[in-house]
Amino acid sequence: MSGAARIAAGILTDPARPVGFRFDGRAFAGLAGDTLASALLANGQRLIARSFKYHRPRGIVTAGPEEPSALVDVLTASGREPNQLATTLPLCEGLCAVSQNRWPSLHYDLLAFNDRLARFLPAGFYYKTFMWPARAWERLYEPLIRRAAGLGKLVPRIGAAAAPAETVHHHADVLVVGAGAAGLTAANLLGRCGLRVLLADQDAVLGGGTLLDEGWTAWRQQTGDALAASPSVRILTRSTVVGAYGHGVFGALETLAAPTSSSGLRERLHVIRVRRVLFATGAEERLIALAGNDVPGVMLAGAAHSYLRRYGVAVGCRPAFFVNNDEAYAALFALAAAGISPVAVIDVRAESLAAARARALGMRVYARCLVSAVLGRSSVRAVRITALDGAPLQTVRADSLLLSGGFSPRAALPVQLGGHLGWQERLAAFVPELTPRAGVMAGSARGVAGLAAAARDGAVAAAQIARELGRECEPHAAPPETDLAATPLAALWEVPGPGRAFVDLQNDVTTADVRLACREGYAHLEHMKRYTTHGMATDQGRIGGLLGSAVLAQARGQTLAEVGALRPRPFAQPVPFAALAGSEVGAHFKPQRRLPLHDWHAAHGASFVSTGLWLRPLVYAQEGGWEPVLREARAVRQGVGVTDVSTLGKIDVQGADAVRFLDVVYANTFSTLAVGRARYGIMLREDGMLFDDGTTARLAAEHFLVTTTTANAAAVLEHLEFHRQSTCAQLDVTLTDVADQWAQFAIAGPRARELLARIVDADVANAAFPFMAAGAVRAAGVAARLFRISFSGELAFELAVPAHCARTVWEALQSAGRTLGLLPYGLDALNTLRIEKGHVTGAELNGNTSAHDLGFGRMLKPQGDFIGRTLSARPALQSGERLQLVGVRPLDRARRLRNGMHLLASSGASEGYVTSSTPSTELPGWLGLALLSGGRARIGTRLTARSELHGEEVAVEILSPHMLDPENVRVRA
């Protein structure tokens, strides 16, 4: 630790509002407006973290989201959140942060032993080391490596009702990314000409680089006020645009609540759709690779400037400067003005205008010199200065080293839009180039140096965009002319010499690692990245990415322009999964479709099951087991039961050609169906496989009601609509989805007719309303539709009523059935009943079965075309060896069946499997349906059914699938 370092009033901090916080258990005090990093620096805390691989001491290097080292865990009421950037984490009362990747403590980290072994742990060492024995990979090496990998520790404690994030959709004419001199100017001009503007900036305050120059205070205030007052401009602060997806779609992540907050929103994901985009994203200062460039106290010069201006914090009392450009001198002059004089200024150039100004202020400038090494382990002690030719000059005691290797335009977003990175020698940087249609660049994001020049460039960009959108920008107040003449930079990437020089602080990648990758054949930049991990993880190598390219270029003997830069992809900064999920978490992960009678079912003790999006009553009991299910099913077999089948798909088909259409989409014939009758139908896919089944009723000559299975309701509607609009476009037919319009109840059992007669106004005797009849009735005073169809194998009716009248009719049924022993039954009982009868559902109608497989071959009409006809005639689909529907029953009636049991031949080979099973309501023991190879020819034989999952095996007999009332006497009763 060094001494306290708050030396001035920061423009963002409030000295009247102290804020208490803890770091690694120690109590500290900061100021409102601080970040965790600025508050720690103000308290003299240099050591913040341990590095990823070697566990080297690390401090704070930057003042923004590009930070590679100062990552911490934050302890909150909702858990432990890892990898929070100290440089952007707003300080709040009670903030509790702990350092990462060390054991047992930050100061005494035993795993720092890795650093002693560094020569044995070069890039790619795992690939070469953990080769054998092969079986140790999964059992030993992988668990060990996974345990050692990663930085922080995620311990979520998310409450059931938590909604930590939300999504907001925006539309605008122009998105301006970045609120520095260029972005503010452009947004102001575009807003003034009436365009809808969205201005997004990652910082908590507007201003970008202008915040660091007092001469811009008035302009920034005036421009910000104008923007805030503009009705057509929307400002998003703390909002980083993280992805550019083309066609004017962008994603931005806004950080909201203080991390100590146990409730409320933490993040907001903005989905932005615009006509044009302006990137005024600025440029990032670069690191220089030199021995010891990771020692706490080594910081980018611009970051030191930020800490001073924004928070009044000096990063050291005796800083040394090592630069290759004039812009970095701004930090030097600002610190000097605040009373912090540099111990040495080392400039790689022979002479420069900024160096001359420094000398005029009495500073010692070492021209044509380098810093060849930083001395110190947990903190900078001194820097070693050498001449350009490597000759040692002097070792200077210093408590910090402020570096600047030049500036690279922020290119992530333009590159995501397909932008080309063009090398500019004068900047020693790649500059993104976009077609105007894709986006416009302004300010230092396209290599323009100086705040005033950036503001002017923003105005030009705004005028261009406005013209493209049919507007004219009005002239506006000129920015302050503060730009000084500057000497061009001299490119400097690496200072050669002994010791480890890092190009990627977050992943502990050194210049030697890059050269090793090249020697071992990973000479392409993207291969080198993956071999060394250079440029990966939270910072994406933003301050050192180009250093890696430069070292690789030197190793390959090529220019940097030939090697190129790492290609960024979304996201430009880490995005929590919670932000992507938004409010669609927990119970709202997906929509739930509720039956019109959901509340009645719930009030009567139903346990619900999700089938697709629907919540259906499974059984009217909270206890498990088969007893309540069988009680409901037996009520149907012996008396009467009623179940809610409103989830069935229902499609209203009308038109003069409705029947012709049905003859095309169904594999069986409907043109012979009389008005007032219903028919069971099967539908094939175009490939000839069975698609869906259901009943279709002819309500009038040109009016049909098609029902589908619950699972396939949407797919069948889509299938029919597709054919209506394509293969049957000439037909007069209209399809309407009426699934939600009609609530439907199945009333089944020998006393079903007796019950129904009590609430409907029609004659439901067998003669008047025979099996498969359909017609309009009034039930409990409500206009309804009645169908004599059965899915249970019993005498049954289905009564359909408008959904908003469902409760009236259902309660009338319950009331009328009380003396008949009526029970409501759920999905489990429905399944029991249909399995006994041999009716198929999704388990058998699974997309891989044909009509022949399930015994529907005779339903395929011999004459006339229908969807799937040609391919259903494929010889392979006629094969008797295909899996065919059969019934199964254990020989030992005390043994049970399980869905998924394999049916084994004597050789032990699987010849099929059980698709559905249930204890029987009438026969002793269990029954099941199965798909068995050549099944129909094997009825009467015996096989073994085995479940490997349950370790169970049972001998079974193969039966006809129609195990109950095969003559259909009951349904026709």
């Binding site: 963002l12 539309h171 006020d225 669609e584 019109p596 309407t736 319009q741």
Partner: protein, 195 residues
């Protein structure tokens, strides 16, 4: 410039009301589009183009699909409206009762549009989605037909997912919350529409 607070976008309180209505889908028979238009005009029923909501004598007419109109009228006996329209338009159109298929929610208040931006991908700026506009969209993963009326927004959503949508609206309206109001009638909406 001082640091703006991380101001939640939470809008002012939004009023939510249910609207009971008869809903009839009207669609022309094949090739009878012009005939239906003429017929409707003759019965003081202006069938709006796709993407519009219009006031009708009986209530509102919504159009978000080619050749499909939803007629919204005050609630009457189940099926009565559909039967009426079917009888009236039989030669040229088909009428289907969808009164039970949909739930109508009416959102009003200064924050109504801002609330919907949390889940609706449409541009809901009043200049872009002005009274009289209608669109089919998805909000909170469920289909919604959205119509702008003078003092609010009408959300037409399948009855089975209406509760999910309401729950989503309640969550998204935090912290201001939803102010549940008494049910409104189609007359309330049609009086507002397209003024």
């Amino acid at each position: 410039m001082s640091a703006p607070e991380s101001a939640p976008l939470a809008p002012p309180a939004v009023q939510l009301a249910h609207c009971a209505a008869d809903i009839v889908q009207l669609s022309p028979r094949r090739g009878a589009h012009a005939e239906l238009q003429r017929f409707a005009s003759g019965h003081a029923l202006a069938l709006p183009p796709c993407g519009r909501v219009a006031r009708a004598t009986a209530g509102l007419v919504l159009a978000v699909r080619p050749e499909r109109w939803l007629l919204l009228a005050p609630a009457a006996e189940a099926g009565a409206s559909a039967a009426y329209w079917q009888e009236l338009t039989r030669p040229c159109a088909l009428a289907v009762d969808l009164s039970g298929a949909f739930t109508l929610l009416y959102l009003a208040g200064a924050g109504a549009r801002a609330l919907l931006t949390r889940g609706c991908r449409l541009d809901l700026d009043p200049q872009q989605f002005a009274p009289g506009c209608a669109a089919a969209t998805v909000i909170a993963q469920v289909p919604v037909t959205l119509a702008a009326v003078a003092h609010g927004l009408l959300l037409v959503t399948p009855a089975s997912t209406a509760r999910h949508l309401q729950e989503w609206l309640s969550i998204s309206a935090r912290p201001s919350g939803l102010d549940r109001r008494a049910d409104v009638t189609v007359h309330t909406l049609s009086g507002d529409a397209t003024r």
